[in-house]
């Protein structure tokens, strides 16, 4: 017999675990498998210290120290002809490693090669902005600041880009709750009506299946409308039967065509005939 497991909050937990699931890993190849990449790597090692290097999905991945990011990207852009900075962002590893992984994805249109420069910074430290080299970094670094709280030094306009400026917290951190912290949950109420309106408006309704049948301030049942805010709990709901035009009977030129239905006059049969 299976051991009993408590069923409280069972929907909130992960309900399915594949016992045979193996996290896929990408095959890493040596940098010397590709002649173009090995030349790039050897050229870059003269400029900065490279901690680790490998090929992954035909990308050259280089791990550098965070203080070398400007010189490495400048070298890749000006000497190695990687003329596009395609993508720049961070990955949250605060819980496991105590910091963030920052990656710079670059593309060379002349060599048709892609290069990824990776670095790791401790939580609370800043990184130098690559905005002077690539204008693309302007918005990407602002997004990185907005979502993770990583400051890019010497950035021309280090402000939030997606969230409002008076937002509290950085939403893409793993520690940030999906439904928002307290400041986020009351954001629009605090901003528009003020903090004292919290009690009047009430908590957010996060249950997508919630239906309050007796709420007469926001909903009215079609055909069963009552005045705004009427209390219809405990059987106080007024009887609003569906009325049809024919209820009074239909007469054409004084001749009754449809006689009105009278509930009192009707007879219920006790058994089937």
């Amino acid at each position: 017999m299976r051991a009993y497991q408590p069923k409280d909050n069972v929907q909130k937990k992960s309900y399915y675990n594949d016992r045979f699931y193996v996290t896929p890993t990408l095959a890493r190849k040596s940098v010397y498998d590709d002649s173009v990449f090995s030349n790039d790597y050897l050229s870059l090692t003269k400029k900065v210290t490279v901690n680790d290097v490998y090929l992954e999905l035909d990308h050259l991945v280089l791990w550098i120290n965070p203080e070398d990011n400007i010189s490495a990207i400048k070298h890749a852009k000006e000497i190695l002809a990687y003329d596009f900075l395609v993508e720049l962002s961070a990955i949250d590893y605060v819980a496991t490693k105590g910091g963030f992984e920052i990656f710079y994805e670059m593309l060379s249109t002349s060599k048709r090669k892609r290069l990824r420069i990776k670095t790791f910074i401790k939580e609370g430290t800043a990184i130098e902005s690559v905005n002077p080299l690539f204008r693309m970094a302007d918005w990407s670094e602002r997004e990185m600041f907005d979502m993770f709280g990583i400051v890019a030094n010497n950035h021309p306009y280090m402000k939030r880009i997606l969230m409002p400026e008076d937002w509290h917290g950085h939403p893409l951190l793993k520690t940030y709750p999906l439904h928002g912290d307290e400041a986020a949950r009351w954001y629009e109420v605090d901003k528009i009506f003020g903090r004292e309106a919290r009690e009047t408006i009430g908590e957010e309704q996060r249950d997508s299946a919630a239906i309050d049948r007796y709420d007469t301030t926001r909903f009215s049942r079609l055909g069963h409308e009552v005045p705004f805010g009427t209390d219809i709990r405990d059987g106080k709901e007024p009887d609003t039967p569906v009325r049809y035009q024919e209820d009074g009977g239909i007469k054409i030129f004084g001749i009754p065509l449809v006689t009105p239905f009278d509930e009192i006059e009707t007879k219920n049969l006790k058994e089937r005939r």
Binding site: M163, P164, L178, H179, R185, Y187, I192, I201, R206, R218
Partner: protein, 169 residues
């Protein structure tokens, strides 16, 4: 063919139609509902389709206006983010009374599938809503039906009621 002759012997004998102020005012209001040109997300595409020739809002007297000062209906068509909530409230406040609000689609009603930190969980947390319109996104027919329900609501109420400002708080 226009009739210039007054028929005193038919129609009760006089060229007069009797009605109430309520009915007259509500007739005017409900048949010239001017919504604001205001779209937030994909529901706005359906709203545009409803306004365009196939579904044709114009035959209801519903003409989209480019300014909140000239509108009396606000169709919240799409996802309302928390960043945008204050602007929606400001636009609503700029509309002259009487004014009505149609919350179009799941996102505007309850936050919909965006059960996240950045989305307002129901536009009625910010402004009072008259008609909630289900769907993701609602078909143009649904928006037409919602407009007709709103017309019905306006006609069924005394016209002085609409002048009373609805307040969330």
């Amino acid at each position: 063919m226009a009739q210039h002759e007054v028929k005193y012997l038919s129609n009760g004998g006089a060229p007069i139609a009797l009605t109430t102020v309520d009915k007259l005012v509500n007739f005017g209001r409900s048949n010239s509902l001017w919504p604001m040109t205001y779209g937030l997300a994909c529901c706005a595409i359906e709203m545009m389709a409803t306004g365009a020739s196939r579904f044709d809002f114009d035959r209801f007297g519903t003409i989209f206006r480019a300014s909140p000062r000239q509108s009396d209906v606000l169709v919240i068509a799409g996802t309302l983010t928390k960043k945008h909530a204050e602007f929606l409230r400001r636009l609503y406040d700029q509309m002259p009374d009487p004014k009505w609000v149609i919350s179009m689609g799941s996102c505007a009603n309850t936050g919909g599938m965006f059960n996240t930190y950045a989305t307002v969980q129901g536009a009625d947390r910010v402004i009072p809503v008259d008609i909630y319109l289900p769907g993701c996104a609602p078909r143009p027919e649904t928006l037409q039906f919602a407009l007709m329900m709103l017309q019905k609501k306006i006609r069924s109420q005394p016209c002085s009621l609409a002048q009373k400002a609805k307040r969330l708080i």
